[in-house]
Symmetry: D2
Subunit: 191 residues, 4 copies
């Protein structure tokens, strides 16, 4: 959505560390953009501590890192996950277990829906289970609040295709309000 | 969730009407509780203007009522929907069209997930499409914020069964925080 | 603001009690509307447990009631305050002490500003000290979100006078958006 | 509060510009930190377009810049103000006029209260007039949500002094939750 999710995540990480607290940064391996780093559009960049593979049990792999940290005298104060829409539904449940059963707050940043307005499996599970949902807002080209993440191929909006096509690699995206989204979709249908 | 959704809806309706504006109250016909009325746990009750059947096109049936209202000199200022989790995903899309294409604000009140923490099809589509999501909070028996709507049969929590079982008719419900929910689920698994 | 503050308060009280938890309802004695009751515009009414006089130490008077409740086996789970804009700044500080030092959540419902857009002393202290601020929304006659609580005398908007004039007793009020408020204020200035 | 206000502001600016929209960055001249730049703790920095002096009429000085921009073919889509607690109450009223009468959205970022939990005159007026208030959260050393911005001189918390003492120049600050703030204040009182 280009709303600044990675910037917010990196700022939250900074807030914790400035107070002397240790945090873990993670992202799904499916997001190969930026390789093993989180890159914010403001130019801030940072390597992740944990690349989550699709078959990983998130609670288990996090548990190993957290136990090491604790043994080294810095217990983990927070788990921050970027591109959380690419987690599997099971991994989202494991994130809830980390928060509730292990007592480590989890901040997950991701987009709600794909370019066809359908939720990613991970996003849906996050919206079902999250203790609180906060919206990072951005604007449409028309100035209204953006709602949907429209896909562009060769400069043209498209409304069919695979759910996942990484930004800047096999497609580009533009955040639109519902009015502009409907109007572009109607124009596309007429072609 | 017993958080006061119907009370909030009836208050919002009252706010509009106090300013001389005309609103339409709707609920899915699937919610047979209270028949064709919205009944708040505070004791306030009111008949709905529109019972939405599962095969209704919401925009069409709303459009007929709205056209009548307009002809009578009172254009519809808002559509309020109770128990919105029981809308079909298509009806949620039609509600978005009412808001965006017809320019009538839609306030939809519903619960996020069923007693197994899985979203209702209508809730998922609402969370995917809503311009803004607001949480009505309530508390768990332990005093924490409640998260999940646990089902009880004969006084015992159950964790398997049909997604829909109306409160007070074929089951009862209690809102629990995630900690209490997990703990009751574990106890149930041991039986 | 006629946004449903008292309804929300009475619903929150109901939510606690439905879970078997004991709450205390309070309001400043300055609000003589409804005498010693909270009356919601939806028609729900309930007597308060504590009328807070302007010279009361809120923590002390609450503490006496809370100790009695505890002795009777029902510790207080929450303090709910209606018309909280009429608390003194010191009483708001005492409310924070009840929340932080005595560990009893305090929910305070009130309006932000008077009819001239100036905060009440109690509202300002609440906005300075509250752990979280939630807005109960209502609408302007024009359909926009209302922002200000405009005063009417004999059906005409007025923009000068005492800060406190109780609704329905010595004045009436209408919630306006900023655009309508500015426009009425300009009209008044031209008279 | 070290919660990332400047980062959020710079990200919002970036969001607008990425969509080809022109924005104006402003800050009160009273904030001499960073001279005429906004410097985020993540390392992002940017010069402001407008340093607001204490006797400036904000609407007038903004109006001149906005008219120039419009003449050059780039009307101003948004005014972003950093350290907005240092605006005068009159300047906050002028910001509301920019938003309501001139139709230019204004995003004002600032802290709520000083190190003694008292609002800055500009913050109080902002909380009285803002269309919506959003909290940027950060954490206390104890892990709870921070509430207050405590002042330190030579490494010790102090609870008396001038309202304004710029961070990193004549004092340093640490965000504390209410519990830690009360406990440090009590310790200070005993010295």
């Amino acid at each position: 959505m280009n709303s600044g999710k990675s910037t917010s995540l990196l700022q939250a990480a900074h807030n914790y560390e400035e107070r002397g607290q240790h945090i873990i940064l993670a992202k799904p391996a499916l997001d190969t953009k930026g390789e093993d780093s989180i890159v914010s559009r403001l130019g801030v960049e940072r390597r992740v501590d944990l690349l989550v593979g699709p078959s990983h049990n998130l609670r288990d792999v996090f548990g190993i890192i957290a136990a090491n940290s604790k043994a080294n005298g810095s217990p983990v104060a927070c788990l921050l996950i970027d591109e959380a829409q690419f987690l599997t539904p099971e991994q989202v449940e494991q994130a809830l277990q980390i928060a509730v059963l292990d007592g480590v707050p989890v901040l997950a940043y991701g987009i709600r829906t794909d370019f066809m307005t359908i939720g990613f499996p991970g996003s849906i599970r996050l919206m079902e289970l999250a203790h609180s949902i906060e919206e990072l807002k951005t604007i449409c080209r028309c100035g209204r609040k953006a709602m949907f993440n429209a896909r562009k191929l060769n400069g043209e909006f498209v409304f069919h295709g695979d759910q996942v096509a990484l930004d800047g690699i096999s497609a580009s995206y533009e955040s639109l309000c519902a009015t502009c989204y409907f109007s572009e979709k109607e124009r596309d249908a007429k072609l």
